[in-house]
């Protein structure tokens, strides 16, 4: 791909993240279902890493993490590191194991959200934010409610990848 194609590709991915981010910060936070707000940026990072591989996934996760740290309250830098790692691992797994189908994306997203919530619970326990049952309940609800949005996020990035994404040897568009 030429440099121009690369720039166009990443601009398209960034535009794809925009509705996801807007939905999370402007709409879904006003109508928390089950008392929790879903977290959608990690799902976007996983989607892009699934299609683009480890290196690009890590870079995209890093950028999304910066946006998340600027947007979400909490430990600064945590989401930057977390989403970068998520992108790297998801991209690596998709290169050698998981197919780029919706099931593969759902599996990666579930593992990613599980890891994210585990880190959150550990942090809450470490900082004595609250007792384990309460913290675990919020983490479980947040993770499960966020995963419900995978059928909406997957088509967005699949479409972008089909239009401008990279073609990896042996890779298949699900």
């Amino acid at each position: 791909m030429t440099t121009q194609d690369q720039v166009r590709k990443w601009l398209c991915y960034a535009l794809g993240v925009l509705p996801v981010w807007l939905a999370e910060t402007q709409i879904l936070n006003r109508v928390p279902l089950f008392g929790v707000i879903p977290v959608l940026l990690p799902l976007a990072a996983v989607a892009v890493a699934l299609w683009e591989g480890a290196r690009c996934g890590a870079a995209f996760g890093l950028c999304l993490g910066l946006v998340a740290d600027a947007t979400y309250p909490g430990a600064p830098g945590g989401m930057t590191l977390g989403l970068c790692a998520l992108g790297l691992l998801t991209g690596a797994v998709s290169q050698y194991g998981v197919r780029q189908t919706f099931v593969g994306y759902l599996l990666c997203s579930a593992v990613a959200m599980g890891a994210l919530e585990l880190v959150r619970v550990a942090w809450c326990l470490l900082t004595r934010l609250g007792p384990l049952p309460a913290v675990a309940l919020v983490a479980a609800k947040e993770g499960l409610w966020s995963l419900c949005f995978t059928p909406l996020i997957y088509p967005i990035f699949k479409l972008i990848c089909r239009l401008v994404g990279s073609r990896r040897p042996g890779g298949a568009y699900g």
């Binding site: 910060t25 936070n29 707000i37 979400y72 309250p73 909490g74 934010l129 609250g130 609800k141 947040e142």
Partner: protein, 282 residues
Amino acid sequence: MKKLFQSNGGLLVLIALLLAAITLVLSLILSGADPLANLWGVVTTPFRAVGTAAADWAERSFSHRYREEVLADEVERLRQELAAAERQVREGEAAQEENQRLRTLLELRQRRSDLTDLESATVTARALSNWESSFTISKGSNYGIQEGQCVIDAYGNLVGVVREVGLNWATVLTVVDTDIDMGGKVSRPGEQISAVLEGDFALMTQGRVKLSYLPEDIQLRSGDLVLTSGRGGVYPPDLVVGTVESVENDPSGMTRYAVVAPRAELDTLNQVFVVKSFDIVE
């Protein structure tokens, strides 16, 4: 003479005279139109009808077009008038809202004269996290807002505390957040019970705050009013926090705490007031 007459259509003149005479006689004898006129009318009526219809159509089209243009100009003029009227209505509504805000602020200042400097702000962003209870307001250090300042609603109820300040924004931790820690008291007629307001994660998810370090011999009742104590001079005293909902035992069973329901409507706040300074009452 005869040849001149014959060569210049004299015969035709005779025929014409004859026809005229016949027509005259017949018109005198018969009622109605004379035969020639009648014949002319019969023959030309269809053509006249077509011509009249065409002329009418042309006239209608022209006048329709002309009226369309006149109506279009009229519509445009009315649209502009409507837009100007709508603009005035909007400005009026904005002025009315500002008037109401200023009236509320004036009433609040009259009611709470000890709160010497209040800065009004609007809520620009609601909670984005399930792990804390906060929101963002429209003013920051450019209006002298600082970390740790109390935030109240239009009725003087405690909303929270400023946690983070930017140039033109600030984040406010609500009263149910886990980082809240301030002196509180239960106010009853002739009696005041000191305690500590502190955030609890489990209660935060339910929109409640914990009132702990209650004296052992005190019996709290549902509905008891909880206020800020103002001890230490960090936060203003006598800000309404909420009402006692229930009294629970600590997991250790050694102490009790009260579950307080905040009086401020944290989920629907639009306007808040930051207490930038207040009189310290000893």
